[in-house]
């Protein structure tokens, strides 16, 4: 589209929009447009968002069996940029959110080390610090994609909202391990949380020495309690469930624990019948957040917006298809494009009012991309619960309604069985 025509469309849309608003009798008047004539609110010690934004909240499934072990979703289509605000970061915990007084916080590192050590929070903060932006994604993100036929009421939130992105500050775990002196023969760390379930996982020492953070801050302030206050692990690019929150102890040892959440959960049932363990790295993902499921759009100009990320490395490209994968156009990536972090992609688009299906797929620096649903289920089992990263389709109907555009798979009806996504359907 040539530039001039583009701007003419923009101008027309803006003016028309204003006239239409008046015609529809929306309560906008010169009085409402005037500045306030009384004093506004005074200074406040901790800022709250506008009351008009109160409906932007995490999605909690109405079908949960308990709210003390489950997950809620970040409202992806209501957010801009790449940083997930702290109050909207998705949650997943196994026995509620413990309240930990930082005065009494301790981290113990012991086992196959020269010097078992105990750290206070103050001591952890005295170490050289690192601040990096990383996504955290639940292994069960995308779980609604296992539903067949697809859920017509799917939103971007319920499709991929078990992922969030924040700037994390902490001490590299490598520094703490060096302080304790890892003994030869040690290969594994068993981090443990101080929640009631004393959640544990097994983490290879090699990854810990590479880039794992013992984090105490999230987007500049202390971690939120539901993100592990005062201290959690951040394991860049790997499934969220290994990033132990409310960290109290790290056992250094030579065997993995084969804990419940790396054996009977967070293992993957493949189409060939094998069950895969330690599927740690999160495959590439992208989700168009605008326009997306249950939104309503009008003909004219729109900026298609979305988020992409990969646990394998930097996102190199995001493509959008308007014809179910026959042709692809490259979207713009908004810098900085950081490794293991959300990237915002965008594409200017003029909607002509005809029905259309939008697809997006992300590529990472290792050459990985997202499969179609059909390709995904050739490899992964229909009854698996985790690591769904197939392309999400959105169908824009002629009346401007946007609905789930995923194709049904044929064969058995199925649905997510709860798990970390927490949504239970009768199928």
């Amino acid at each position: 589209m040539d530039r001039r025509r583009f701007f003419r469309i923009l101008g027309a849309g803006g003016l028309l929009g204003l006239l239409k608003a008046k015609a529809q009798g929306l309560p906008w008047t010169e009085e409402t447009f005037a500045p306030t004539k009384t004093l506004g609110a005074p200074l406040s010690e901790y800022g709250e968002r506008s009351p008009f934004e109160a409906e932007v909240v995490r999605y909690i499934s109405p079908n949960l069996r308990t709210r003390h072990s489950g997950a809620d979703f970040a409202p992806l289509e209501r957010l801009e940029g790449v940083i997930t605000p702290n109050g909207l970061h998705f949650e997943r915990h196994h026995a509620g959110v413990p309240q930990v007084d930082p005065k009494y916080y301790r981290l113990v590192i012991h086992g196959m080390v020269e010097r078992p050590l105990v750290f206070t929070l103050e001591e952890l903060k005295r170490f050289p610090s690192v601040t990096r932006t990383y996504f955290i994604e639940c292994a069960g993100n995308g779980q609604n994609g296992y539903r067949n036929p697809p859920d017509p009421n799917l939103t971007a939130t319920r499709s991929r909202g078990l992922a969030s992105n924040a700037s994390w500050t902490g001490v590299p775990l490598a520094l703490l391990l060096k302080e304790a002196g890892v003994k030869p023969g040690a290969k594994w760390l068993i981090p443990e949380g101080m929640d009631a379930a004393m959640y544990t996982r097994s983490l290879p020492l090699e990854k810990a020495m590479e880039d794992v953070l013992v984090a105490y801050a999230q987007n500049g302030e202390a971690l939120r309690p539901e993100q592990g206050y005062p201290v959690r692990l951040v394991v860049p690019g790997w499934e969220g469930s290994i990033q132990v929150k409310w960290l109290r102890r790290i056992l250094v040892t030579d065997l993995p624990a084969m804990a419940k959440d790396e054996t009977s959960e967070y293992t993957d049932v493949m189409a060939d019948g094998r069950v895969l363990a330690f599927t740690w790295v999160m495959d590439p993902e992208s989700i168009i957040t605008y326009p997306s499921g249950l939104q309503q759009i009008k003909p004219g100009f729109h900026e298609i917006r979305g988020l992409a990320w990969s646990g394998h490395g930097r996102i190199t490209k995001v493509e959008i298809s308007f014809d179910e994968g026959r042709t692809w156009r490259e979207a713009a990536l908004e810098p900085p494009v950081e490794r293991y972090a959300f990237v915002r992609f965008k594409m200017p688009w003029y909607w002509d009012g005809k029905e259309v299906v939008l697809w997006s797929r992300a590529w990472d620096e290792r050459g990985n991309t997202q499969p179609t649903r059909e390709e995904f289920f050739k490899k992964w089992g229909r009854n698996n619960r985790y690591h769904y990263n197939a392309i999400q389709a959105w169908r824009v109907l002629p009346d401007g309604r946007v609905v789930n555009g995923d194709r049904p798979l044929g064969g058995q009806a199925s649905g997510p069985a709860g798990g970390c996504g927490g949504e239970v359907f009768d199928v």
């Binding site: 105990v118 750290f119 590299p172 084969m258 993957d268 330690f278 058995q412 069985a417």
Partner: protein, 182 residues
């Protein structure tokens, strides 16, 4: 860049043997005291003394577990603990993933029950009670006989049918060639 910086830091540290001298050294005995619900490894390390009996387990199960997992482990409102087929197949619905047909390591049972059960009263079971429950659940799942003793020595040697299905993620194999499943 972060990785390079970290590596440089680690190497510089190793070269001069420098540490930050932060944190308080403790004895492994004291660390063990903080180890309230010790990790149980698949080779049995971390298992306490004691022995589980099916009849005792049945009694404790009825009292402390049945309200969530069903009178005979059939589930509802929470996870099913006993189910068919043995082991699971790709057609088995996730709601049927239970101990006998999906759990791959017997030691996980002890570790998890002691660590995180009963939901809402975590950490209240004695080691002896945990052994009884493990004995009962393995028996209910057809893994052991009613008189199989469950203790430090025997538990790690019990073979779970689902272990045959378990394999390493190919990406994990590629990145950590030394890694094997116990």
């Amino acid at each position: 860049m972060f990785r390079r910086a970290l590596l440089a830091l680690a190497l510089a540290g190793l070269a001069v043997g420098a540490r930050y001298q932060l944190g308080t050294p403790i004895t492994e005995e004291l660390a063990a005291q903080y180890d309230l619900r010790p990790v149980v490894l698949p080779d049995g390390r971390g298992l306490p003394p004691g022995e589980g009996k099916v009849a005792e387990g049945e009694r404790i199960y009825a009292e402390k577990c049945a309200s969530c997992h069903g009178a005979r482990g059939e589930g509802y409102p929470f996870n099913r603990l006993v189910s068919e087929p043995f082991p699971i197949t790709p057609d088995t619905e996730p709601v049927e993933y239970a101990i006998g047909n999906y759990w791959q390591y017997p030691t996980t049972l002890f570790d998890y029950i002691r660590r995180a059960m009963p939901f809402g009263q975590e950490g209240t079971l004695t080691d002896e009670e945990v052994y009884h429950l493990v004995a009962f659940l393995l028996y209910m799942n057809g893994i052991t006989e009613a008189d199989t003793p469950i203790n430090q020595k025997t538990l790690p040697t019990i073979r779970m049918p689902a272990r045959e299905l378990l394999d390493l993620d190919p990406e994990t194999k590629r990145r950590f060639p030394w890694l094997t499943l116990p």
